[in-house]
Amino acid sequence: MASTAQDPSAPLLRGDKKEEDRDDETEFSPFFGIEKGLVLQEARIFNSPHIDARRCQQVITKLLYLLCQGETFSKKEASEVFFSVTKLFQNKDSNLRRMVYLVIKDVCPSADEVIIITSSLMKDMNSKTDLYRANAIRVLCSILDSQLLGQIERYLKQGIVDKSPVVSSAVLVSAVHLLEGNSEIVKRWTNEIQEAQHSTHSMVQFHAVALLHALRANDRLAVSKLVSDLIKSSVRSPLAQCLLVRYVAQVIAESTAAPTGETRPFYDFLESCLRHKAEMVIFEAARAICNMRNVTLRELLPAVTVLQLFLSSSKPVLRFAAVRNINKVAQTNPGAVVNCNLDMEALISDSNRSIATLAITTLLKTSTEGSVERLLKQMTSFMSDIPDEFKIVVVEAIRTLCLKFPQKYRALMNFLSNVLREDGGFDFKKAIVDSVLILIREIPEAKEPGLAHLCEFIEDCEFTYLSTQILHLLGLEGPKTKEPAKYIRYIYNRIILENATVRAAAVSSLAKYGALVPELRPRISILLQRALHDNDDEVRDRATLYLRELGGLNGSTPSQTDYIDLNWTLPNKNLETCLRQYLENGATQPFDLAVVPAAAAEKPRVDLATKGKGASTMANGPTPSSTKQEPAAADYTSQLRAIPQFAMYGELFKSCAAQQLTEEETEYSILCIKHIFDAHVVFQFDCTNTVQEQVLQDVNVIIDLAEAEEFEEEVLVPLARMAYGDVGQCWAAFSKPAGALTTGRFVNTLRSRVKEIDPSTGEEEEEGYEDDYQLEDLELAAADYIKAEAVSNFRNAWEAAEAESEMTDDYGLGVKDSLQDAVEAVIAILGLRACEGSDAVPPNARSHTVLLSGLLVGGVQVLVRMMFGIDMTRNVAMKLVVRSDCMETSEAIHYIIQNA
């Protein structure tokens, strides 16, 4: 079976058959031992002059069975089957004919073969028999091209208003599929479709409404008109009514918010749908109301009331649908669903575990401080009989709750530790441990009980990853508690009982107690000494190191406890690069840790906390990507630090994205990265030689400053040697007025001494020659001096900024595909960070406001508020308001837009 799962072309059949043989399961099946070759041979009876309809039907069924089991036919086989099947069109047997229609859709013929059957199908389209007409239309529409569509358009148009519902449904549904690519033709049938919309047959009405909307989906006015018409004309079909509810929800979403107190347009209609006789319509309407933007409590109430009724329905589907919606409402409007709590509590024991889990998580969201304990009691029995994935959801909900009601940490922490003791897979245990870690971090009082629970857990933990994580935490937090000694037993037990990885972690953890708690130091040293005879290298090494750092057994004061990695803030990546460089340079002198740049030692704790919160609030949106950019920036910092001339330039403000200065596939590839400092600009040129037969020496980029007059050249750092395939850097640095947004254009030439390499001997020629190579120009724009930087509260920052620095202007942006495109383009030009998620334009919005913030070189804060509007012809206009510390800066921002 495993092999079949990997081979995309292998059918499921083979594996099943083997299994059947093995199980000796001789259950009767008409398809037992079926083989493709034999069936294909059998299919030849389609060609025989005396057709046995029943037999042919059986063979077709066998073919379909094979297809259904994942068997594939080669092109030749498929076309053979197809050709012989077409012969059966002559047959009068209606059941056989129905099978022929079916098999043709599955044995999809290639375009040039379709022609064989089109005439037969067109004949059937005019048959007196409704079912022939309907089926022929469906088959034809699934295989035709637009040229053929033109030919049969007339019949399809007629078909829409056919008396027989099966025919009109067939055309309407096929038309929905045809819309893609043929919308112009389908549009011509609007009159007929409108007639079908009033059909007495509910499915025809449903299909007609769906098609009408699909035809107008891009035209807001037309959709509004359709909605008003449909509301007036009273739709009978429940499915069509569901569609109407969806359209209304769309119209509401697109309309501008009504002033508070006024009822939204169409809200009354949605509310009336809550009293519809079909449950699916009631639910669709309730769902639409719950999903309305900025929905008020008053608007929600009727919807929540019907959902509440559903909660006690006997049908699991209804209960599920209702509880899922209430759960969603609880995320934004917990107050609105509090009334459902009693019904929800009853659902905790629901036999459908999905429903029970949704009920629990909803209750956890809406529960008040007083009801937490009661709820937890009910959950304990529940937790033991649900699958892990549901347990994880519950654990996450508990964590959120605990952060909401910190006073209840004791009960919630106890609950977590109880479930921690239960059986469960890694993901489940990890979710609990992560939650406990977050709680320990966020709620100071919870620290000691939390650590105690974790200590207990590692006594019997089968997951190395979790054990090491907990041991690390014990090392960090344990020594700071009132009684550090009580953790030592738990940690030392690990050294005796666990695998090497955990033992090593335990040694490190113990050492931290020794370093931070002087009273414990002699005892720790004794314990560590026992680890000296461990049979694992890493454990022995760590024990030896820490023993030495702790001053050995004689109890002398330790010299540098720092090295017991307490303050290890150096990023591993930086250390790795430095060590590599050190080795490349021959490793002649002892390695000095001080050369490792400590920048980008971002506080991971803060990061973890936000991550925890993000997960707990169930916000799926991307977290700010600032951390993503760090590694790259850190990389540049370390490269810049390697060059002493740049040391006095101060803190790096920003590194721009790399820019290619050569065309692809030329002799050299030069990438330029602009580094912005307060009063300097450094160009980093990453040079690659792509010609094997030459080597470049003394590589410099010579820069002409004719169009960048305010800059002054400071230093050029050449690249000594550029061999084939290597990436090396040369640098150029310029000074500029401090803090100013100095712009300019730089004309660059690559100057070097080229030496040819003799391909036969591999030797370089002695002399070489000077060579100049023209590179593309570089431009330093104002946007290069802007760093995207989020503010925590835009409104506060906005009001705090100088109102006098405010500058407003209007811009026309021309025709854009959508508002979102316009917004993204402007943000890219300005290089600012969007605040409060305002860079995402709601679908179909006609206007939108974007809030941006950032830092200008010199640390000046800039705040921008942009109002976008789009009209029917997709023309986009923008109003830009800037605030910063002074008029000049604001002007500079406008200047960027004007020049873009």
């Binding site: 009068k92 059941n95 004919r97 129905r98 769906a210 499915l239």
Partner: protein
């Protein structure tokens, strides 16, 4: 792209009591390959087969961003799969139409053996319920009569049939009724 407001079915499955496929239809590119389908069927089966709901009742679950409504009859498992945003009650109505139509077509003998013997009817029923992911019909009686081509008279009236033809068709009808 099909108008997103139209209710859609992502797939329609009929599995046996061990989770092996009897008849399946997929309507989204997501499951275009056989291994992808097989993995999906395995996880659907694993998630639903141990349900404690009364057999014969439409049940529901949500996983991996799909909503699955399902019903077990005898040794058969009927599934309708939709996206997580789909109205669960619409999917449930499709499932009910599916199960009831099969029951009508098999005259109540809804079990693996009869389904395999009448696989043609089952495949046709699936074809009459969903067309390329769009709901074509959910009324079981209508579906069943369309599958059996009721109303589509053989174009040769009985009187004009030769004796041997009439005999053959009579024999066939007897054989059919015996099989059921």
């Amino acid at each position: 792209m099909i108008d997103p407001t139209i209710p859609r079915v992502s797939s329609m499955l009929l599995l046996d009591a061990e989770g092996k496929r009897i008849a399946v239809k997929y309507y989204t590119p997501e499951w275009s390959t056989v291994p992808a389908q097989s993995t999906f069927e395995k996880s659907v089966f694993a998630k639903t087969s141990r349900t404690t709901a009364a057999r014969g009742e439409v049940d529901i679950t949500l996983f991996d961003e799909v909503v699955v409504v399902f019903k077990f009859i005898g040794d058969l498992m009927f599934y309708i799969v939709g996206t997580q945003d789909e109205n669960e009650l619409i999917l449930s109505q499709v499932l009910t139409g599916f199960c009831e139509a099969i029951s009508l077509l098999l005259r109540g003998a809804v079990e693996k053996k009869t389904v395999l013997e009448n696989l043609d009817l089952v495949l046709l029923a699936m074809d009459e319920i969903i067309d390329g992911g769009l709901i074509l019909e959910t009324d079981s009686t209508t579906i069943a009569s369309r599958v059996t081509m009721r109303g589509a008279e053989n174009e040769t009236p009985l009187a004009e049939q030769t004796l041997s033809q009439a005999f053959a068709s009579a024999k066939e009808q007897i054989a059919r009724s015996l099989l059921k």
